[in-house]
Amino acid sequence: MDQKFFVTVVAPDRAALGRLASYELDLLHQTSAVTQLRTTRMGSRAAEASAPSKPSEEVQQISIDGLLTMEQVARLVGDGYEVVVREPASKRARATQTMDLQEWLKAVLEK
């Protein structure tokens, strides 16, 4: 079984975000978002000195989170997406922490 990772996929544009549906990936639809980012253009010190009040630029980041294997990440990157790998899926897995029914019932009825 291939290891999976929580990732954020950044699409170059809205159409590319839509095209992700055809990849049949485990994407978390409710996380799709368009975020306004403010960036400051960096230039040479001389250029900055000559135009110190150059305004920052607003750019849109179109992204969606997902749970992907590295092979799937590589495919997306090859197709022009930027993929930020957050952490292995196992780091967020809590399902194996189990509880005995009698203890659970006691805890539930105490609440």
Binding site: A21, L25, R94, A95, V108, L109
Partner: protein, 175 residues
């Protein structure tokens, strides 16, 4: 005592049996006609006055996506608390919202509640197994002839199965 973990598939089933045993006048255990693909019995519980004739019912299901482990426990918890409140003739409070004993009685008088807390016991068992996959979402149908195992139950009900109308065109897709 704090809640320190999640119930296993077998503990959820035992919880339903516990409810029906402890509150026989308002709880009726229902065994679904088909077991899971790995042979697990799937049970629901009907909560309502068993002496009354059939009334409108509300069906609540949980646990379709195996890796979403909280909601089956929450539904069983709701059943446990409703039955206890009914037995003690007390109200219930969830978060900041309170329900009086008479409001709960009105609900139970007017409706039958059907709780099916674990639609996908095989998936939950796989998610909680040390050799399983904690991020598995589907059931464990082997899907003969297809590369991927499992069916996403939440996207593929009997109605228009595997069609492109409302459900996935690929019943074993990971998406």
């Amino acid at each position: 005592m704090p809640l320190t973990g999640y119930l296993t598939a077998s503990a959820i089933e035992a919880g339903l049996v516990h409810l029906a045993t402890k509150h026989p006048t308002i709880c009726e255990l229902i065994v679904l006609t088909e077991p899971s693909i790995e042979g697990r019995t799937i049970r629901a519980v009907k909560i309502g006055d068993r002496g009354r004739s059939a009334r409108p019912g509300i069906l609540v299901i949980a646990g379709a996506h195996a890796r979403e482990v909280v909601n089956p426990d929450m539904l069983l918890m709701l059943g446990v608390k409703l039955c206890k409140a009914n037995a003690d003739q007390t109200g219930l409070t969830f978060g900041g919202k309170s329900y009086t004993a008479s409001a709960l009685k009105s609900l139970m008088d007017a409706t039958d509640l059907y709780f099916l807390p674990l639609v996908n016991p095989d998936g939950r068992n796989f998610v909680q197994s040390p050799t399983g996959d904690p991020m598995w979402r589907k059931n464990r149908n082997p899907n003969p002839g297809r590369p991927a195992r499992g069916v996403d139950l939440n996207r593929n009900y009997d109605f228009l199965w595997s069609s492109v109308i409302g459900t996935s065109s690929n019943s074993n897709s990971d998406t």
